[in-house]
Amino acid sequence: MNILKFFTAGSVDDGKSTLIGRLLYDTDSILADQLEALQSSNRKNDDGTIDLAILTDGLRAEREQGITIDVAYKYFQTEKRKFIIADTPGHIQYTRNMVTGASTANLAIILVDARNGVVEQTIRHSYLVSLLGIKHVVVCINKMDMVDYSESVYTTIIDKYKILAQQLKLKDVTYIPVSALKGDNVVQASEQMDWYTGESLLHFLEKVDTDNLDKSQLARMPVQWVIRPQTEALHDYRGYAGRVLSGTFKLNDKVTVLPSGASSTVEKIEFFEQSPDAAHAGQSVIIHLKDDVDISRGDTIVNASALPQESKLIEADLCWMDGRALDTSIMYLIQHNSKTTKCKISEILHKVDINTLEKHQADEFKLNDIGRVIIKTADALAFDLYDDNRANGSAILIDSRTNLTVGALMFRAAVE
């Protein structure tokens, strides 16, 4: 059994909360006391059934205002898989929250209201999915019960979406007609849509390739912590602790340590009282090197035959996440895995209108703005391009006046 992390994009009106509620409800993931709270709530659907959207409501502040203010994480599991849902809200801070929820997901569910088809917000959501490089996309055409479960409505919508998917270079897109309210094709196959021969949403989610096993050759491990017990018995012990971002390290592999460029060989791999022959993407391990090289937190151990890029000048997509606009005259901090260094945004190349996908010149960058910038860092970063290696191609910007995370960066090129 493994884990699938996905997020749902759609506004309140698209029935997003109802869809998540339905997934939880129909997989028996709601416990009795929660169900009791649900039944005693005075929010009901028109036909008197429980409003499943309540299951994803969180804070009192939100209940009072009938909105969602933040990303909420939900968990359920079936016999086949554990699921983590990032439920992202659909109002004003949407872009910021959706980028956050999407950053750890390997699948996106985009909800389209069957009555409205592909609308501006569908374009916006799909653009963000492509920007964040989400591998799998499921487009759920929801509220099929409101259009008499019509095949032609469904076909018209997906034909239109296919053009958008092509434009955005979304590769793996699956279409499913559903009614979250009535439960059609969410967990149970619908009895109302004989014309649809595909799987229900849950069945699809259960078997889609999660790609947790990274098969790239780009072996990378940022050093988080150096373990030096300095006891008599372990006097010379020096282990580099970190999580393998991508690729595989094997015993005797030639490695390079960046930024110093020092070469060495993997002497030993440790994982709590075990000494495996290899460390794979996703695993948190300790690596020992043959040579006595100076390594500290913030350094990265990489495969010597597939080096990352190294630069102090990087072209990146930026999503601005703070109420205070970007100031190109001040220094920010950039955090790239375990490395933090000073930086400046030296140039704004363009901004993207995420409703029309048009690029335009801009001098300012405000909350929820997205565009391409050039970032200049105090120390060189050892990075990969985001599309090649999400884990080593992303970073955050921190405003050192407030310590808030103000930007998400996806590296697109090293500037020569």
Binding site: A32, D33, R96, S103, T104, R243, G282, M321, H336, A408
Partner: protein, 301 residues
């Protein structure tokens, strides 16, 4: 390319170890809050996996309400001896003696709310800048929205509207003086995941998690262990029951469930078929629907 088996528990474990090492790397004076419950016991195992053969780069901190199950204290002391790490105890009784908090009175009196003050005092006294805790997002609605690195102000307050976005696996631990960060390495684990991990790792637990005979009374529809810490009166009828506890908290607010489960396997099948969620057995959450949200804002873990 060799193949390897990396299942959901391995993934959750690797994520938690990564988070613990980020705490070590980013903070000057972190601490691990240890309650004696299964979640914090799991954290100790994860810390061993993150830092052995080195020492933990933080002490363990126990906020002691003085109303403990003796089994938990015995377990704690034995565990500290085994792992050889430092333990700091913050005492609620001391906070009461110093007049910083006032003991509640009445039938439903509990020291649960008082421990927030002791916790904040302990953080201030030792100048902890990060406190690692075993809270999980599946426990409760307010927790579902909390970050893995969750910043608290000088007053220990959590502001759900000013949370930092948390992207990819990058955790921003930058804070101003006086602030601290609560860190939740097992945020993405469910109750069942924790139990499956405990079974897989063969981790020993305090005996009260398993079925035993105990004198109980019924309060507000829940079974409570009869103890000197409960304000009992003539209306309370003591009955001996076969019970176990699903969480380990203060004796005055942790309810028992009737159970025959004597092995971890029994517990896992019991939870899989369970009709009451874990926090459903905590009276402190029942006060109002937004109880947890309010307590978190006030600095409760």
């Amino acid at each position: 390319m060799s193949t390897y088996n990396f299942d959901y528990l391995d993934e959750l474990e690797a994520e938690a170890i990564h988070i613990l090492r980020e705490v070590a790397g980013q903070f000057e004076k972190p601490a691990l809050l240890f309650s004696g419950g299964k979640d914090s016991i799991t954290l100790v195992r994860l810390a061993e996996k993150a830092f052995r053969p080195g020492k933990f780069p933080f002490p363990l901190v126990h906020i002691d309400t003085g109303h403990n199950f003796q089994e938990t204290i015995d377990y704690r002391d034995k565990m500290i001896e085994r792992i050889g790490e430092k333990l700091i105890i913050g005492s609620v009784q001391e906070s009461i003696d110093q007049g910083k908090v006032v003991e509640q009175t009445g039938r439903n009196a509990s020291r649960n709310a008082l421990q927030t003050v002791t916790l904040l005092d302990t953080i201030a006294k030792y100048e902890f800048d990060a406190c690692i805790g075993g809270a999980r997002r599946d426990e409760e609605k307010a927790r579902a929205k909390e970050r893995i690195f969750s910043v608290r102000d000088e007053f220990g307050q959590w502001d759900p509207k000013r949370q930092r976005p948390e992207l990819w696996n990058i955790y921003n631990g930058k804070i101003h003086k006086g602030e601290n960060v609560r860190v939740f390495p097992i945020s993405n684990w469910t109750e069942l995941d924790v139990w499956n991990y405990i079974r897989r790792e063969n981790i020993e637990l305090p005996s009260i998690y398993f079925s035993h005979q105990r004198d109980c009374i019924t309060r507000n529809g829940q079974l409570m262990a009869a103890s000197p810490f409960l304000n009992m009166d003539n209306e309370d009828v003591v009955v001996n029951k076969q019970v176990r506890f699903r969480t380990v908290g203060d004796m005055s607010c942790t309810a028992a469930v009737e159970s025959e489960a004597i092995l971890i396997d029994d517990i896992i099948s019991e939870i899989s078929a369970s009709k009451i969620s874990e926090r459903g057995a905590r009276m402190d959450d029942k006060v109002s629907e937004a109880a947890m949200e309010d307590r978190k804002k006030g600095g409760y873990f």
